[in-house]
């Protein structure tokens, strides 16, 4: 199976081509959906086969390179289209194809009746193609191809309903915003790639990482490389300062939000940093930057999330916040903990989004949670799975999120410092609060919608994926049990990934000596805090429903600030966007383009016209004047002849 790993990339591409070319002719939605999902399902099976094959290999031989063909061969640069099957890429691949498959199946139900459903599945398959290229590639260039590809598909899918309005503008504006902000990050990524090539002479992962370990490269170079790559990651994975596209990306259909903006694309940045762990380990200053930005983003986004009224917006800010946690983990050197959280987050966040989609579907595209309430008796399956995901994200044991989040918080305390832990823990409380606010306002309490809406449970094709993800959210954490519970080598997940990060770990300072007591203490503190938050949310939104309004009036300024997302978008608009647009219009368009460039081109043409107007008078039809000119020529020729004698 390992050797046909390229099929996992090829099959989605074929699905894209087929649905793209013929999908509009196939009138049967189910066939289109089946093809779209089937390719991903097959890819998942192949991934699973490759996983078991790799499991059977001895620990130090678990990396296989499958070389397809030579792509770029320029000067000293040799880039092949080759796929690296190792522990890290297998984990990511299983997540992408597995969760992707489930979401594709869900979409068959969600996008039912849409007139362009074939385009939807085509783009989704294209996205999986690009994402698989990203995580399976064995060199930076192919990774960048996938990086750009997922950005493109994000644009295409966010703007899928291109004729719809969205907030103050249109969906296409949201799509453009996503793409452009991504590009800013990509610029940083490219600079990083150039610097890597310049320093190490290659763009192949194995070559670069081996050389990074042995070559004598100044730390400043490592710092620059790590910084540039991280800028790319902030763009793709929505961290400060380039997170502003993710909330707007909710303009797209909910399965898109689930797949791209929760489970897979936004984790590409995390994957990339983890893959380049040795580079980051050699640049401790940048690791601090990563951790600080991660924890700040986590906190910042959570504060915005607690007051939003659109169900998808809450989830979007939640995603930004959880991604912050992942980067916090990477920043303190806990690479496998970060990837673990990627996995559990994929489960419960996708589930949350799909559940939200189920609710939106039932409420006929209304997304405002103030209009919901008491839905649990109409949509029991959705309610139960949503609840499971909410417990998971709040970090309540034994749900999946508890183990991954706790691993991150512990590592941030043990290898980072107290402040990381403190802010991270406080954010965990906020997380629990906002997610249960969502649960209570949507599913419990009084019904706040009119009786013209008849909410109903979604069809099986949508609820079965919910159930699958729900189960995973419950049991998914058990493969990553910490040392505390399972003994020295009990953390199967970390053990599996250890060989990939071993070089980086050995470069970092070894972990300090902390007792189990401290770990248990911290764990208990966070769990109790989470439960308390849930209780408080219940109090505010079920028992004493007048209180939230009173608070919002009491802390009007703060409330306004949070509701308007700290006015960051407006600030960006004023300082960056508007000057550039105005500048382009005023100067670049009016002057540089119209006057200078057009003037140059037109000027040449009119110059020739003017000159020829004078020259044509020579042709006057009188033979004698021609003879005169001829004599003139003879004069000149004779002069030359004389001079050469």
């Amino acid at each position: 199976m390992i050797h046909i790993i390229y099929l996992t990339v090829l099959l989605p591409l074929l699905g894209f081509i087929f649905n793209g070319l013929f999908g509009s002719k196939i009138k049967n939605e189910k066939v289109v959906g089946a093809i779209g999902s089937g390719t991903i399902g097959l890819s998942f099976l192949i991934m699973l086969g490759a996983f078991f094959q790799t499991l059977a290999l001895p620990v130090d031989q678990r990396q296989t390179i499958v070389n397809l063909f030579s792509w770029l061969h320029v000067g000293g640069l040799n880039i092949n289209v080759a796929y690296q099957v190792d522990q890290l890429s297998l984990v990511m691949g299983l997540i992408v194809t597995g969760v992707g498959f489930v979401i594709h199946v869900y979409s068959i139900g969600y996008m039912h009746g849409d007139k362009a459903i074939w385009r939807f599945f085509a783009y989704m398959n294209l996205f999986i193609f690009a994402m698989m290229n990203l995580i399976l590639s064995d060199n930076f260039v192919l990774l960048f191809l996938g990086w750009e590809g997922v950005g493109l598909c994000s644009y295409l899918l966010i703007g899928f309903w291109y004729d719809r309005k969205f907030e103050k503008s249109t969906t296409s504006d949201a799509a453009k915003k996503a793409f452009i902000v991504n590009r800013i990050g990509d610029f940083g990524f490219l600079l990083g790639m150039f610097l890597i090539y310049h320093t190490f002479g290659s763009l192949n992962f194995n070559t670069v990482f081996t050389r990074a370990g042995v070559m004598n490269v100044p730390t400043s170079t490592f710092n620059l490389i790590a910084l540039f790559l991280f800028i790319g990651a902030t763009g793709k994975s929505a961290q400060i300062p380039l997170y502003v596209w993710l909330p707007d990306a909710m303009a797209g259909p909910t399965p898109v939000s689930a797949l791209i903006h929760a489970a897979t694309m936004v984790t590409a940045g995390v994957y990339m940093v983890a893959r380049c762990s040795i580079i980051y380990a050699s640049a401790p200053a940048i690791m601090t930057v990563v951790a600080v930005i991660g924890v700040l983003t986590a906190f910042f986004a959570a504060t915005i999330g607690i007051v939003q009224n659109d169900i998808k917006k809450v989830l979007a800010y939640s995603t930004v916040s959880q991604l912050g946690y992942m980067f916090l983990a990477l920043g303190v050197g806990a690479f496998s903990a970060g990837i673990f959280h990627v996995m559990t987050h994929a489960f419960f966040k996708a589930l949350l989004f799909l559940g939200a989609g189920s609710v939106i579907h039932a409420m006929h595209d209304d997304q405002n949670i103030q209009h919901f309430g008491g839905l649990k008796k109409y949509m029991p399956v959705t309610y139960l799975t949503f609840l499971a995901a909410s417990f998971a994200i709040s970090g309540i044991p034994p749900f999946a999120g508890f183990f991954s989040k706790d691993a991150i918080l512990w590592e941030s305390y043990a290898n980072g410092n107290f402040f990381y832990w403190f802010i991270g823990a406080f954010t965990a409380l906020l997380t629990a609060f906002y997610i249960f606010r969502l649960v209570y306002l949507t599913f419990e309490g009084k019904e706040r919608f009119g009786h013209d809406k008849h909410p109903h449970e979604s069809p099986k094709v949508m609820t079965i994926p919910l159930i699958i993800l729900g189960v995973l959210s419950v049991i998914g954490g058990f493969i990553g049990l910490p040392e505390l519970f399972a003994g020295k080598n009990g953390n199967a997940f970390a053990n599996w990934l250890e060989p990939v990060f071993s070089n980086a770990h050995s470069k970092l300072m070894t972990f300090g000596n902390y007792t189990h007591f401290q770990e248990i203490l911290l764990m208990t503190v966070t769990v109790i805090g989470a439960v308390a938050s849930i209780w408080y949310a219940r109090y505010l939104y079920i028992k004493n429903t007048k209180l939230p309004e009173k608070y919002s009036k009491q802390f009007k300024g703060l409330y306004n600030l949070l509701l308007n997302k700290y006015f960051v978008d407006e600030a960006y608009d004023k300082t960056v966007v508007t000057p550039i647009v105005k500048g382009s219009e005023m100067f670049l368009w009016r002057i540089a383009d119209s006057k200078i460039i057009d003037g140059l081109v037109n000027g040449v043409a009119s110059l020739i016209g003017t000159v020829s107007k004078y020259i044509r008078k020579i042709q006057n039809g009188i033979a004698q004047s021609y003879a005169l000119v001829m004599m003139l020529g003879i004069v000149l020729a004779l002069f030359w002849l004389i001079l050469s004698l």
């Binding site: 003139l632 003879i634 004069v635 004779l638 002069f639 002849l641």
Partner: protein, 170 residues
């Protein structure tokens, strides 16, 4: 001061003067007659250069045939005396200036440059070269092809002249 030199100066003088007069007369008949005089002087010059055949041919062809043709046409067309200065006098000045310039250049080149090869001519050889035997021999052996071509050329010219000048009857 040999006879040759005197004759040369005489003929050259006549040729040059008649040429200048030719181009400055307004009456075309006068111009034609002075051209005939010019050709005659040239024939004399050819004789001085031991080119007997050419001299004779000059007189026959040029002075005899061509100039007669010219005179026919002049008489036929009866042109008026033309104005000497056209509407663009500056063109005339420019033309004369250019002509003088070229003259000076040619003079310079002829008199002030070194000859490429030094050939010592003998009188006997040059005499022999001009005889009709020699020319005839060269013409019919080495240069037979140009000879035939010249024949075709004359044929073409004849037909051309006929076609161009005939009146259209229909």
């Amino acid at each position: 001061m040999s006879l040759e030199l005197i004759l040369f100066i005489l003929f050259a003088f006549i040729a040059a003067v008649s040429a200048v007069i030719m181009i400055t007369r307004s009456n075309p008949v006068i111009s034609a007659l002075f051209l005939v005089l010019n050709f005659a002087a040239l024939a004399g010059l050819y004789l001085l250069l031991n080119a007997q055949f050419i001299a004779v041919v000059q007189v026959i062809v040029y002075a005899g045939a061509i100039m007669v043709l010219f005179l026919f046409v002049i008489m036929l067309l009866k042109p008026e005396k033309e104005k000497f200065f056209s509407s663009h006098p500056q063109v005339k000045v420019l033309a004369i200036a250019i002509a003088v310039l070229v003259f000076l250049q040619l003079v310079y080149m002829i008199f002030l440059s070194k000859p490429l090869a030094s050939v010592n001519p003998t009188v006997a050889a040059s005499v022999k070269a001009g005889t009709i035997e020699q020319i005839g021999r060269e013409l019919y052996t080495n240069y037979i092809l140009p000879f035939e071509a010249a024949g075709y050329l004359l044929l073409a010219a004849t037909i051309g002249a006929l076609v161009l000048a005939k009146k259209k009857f229909e």
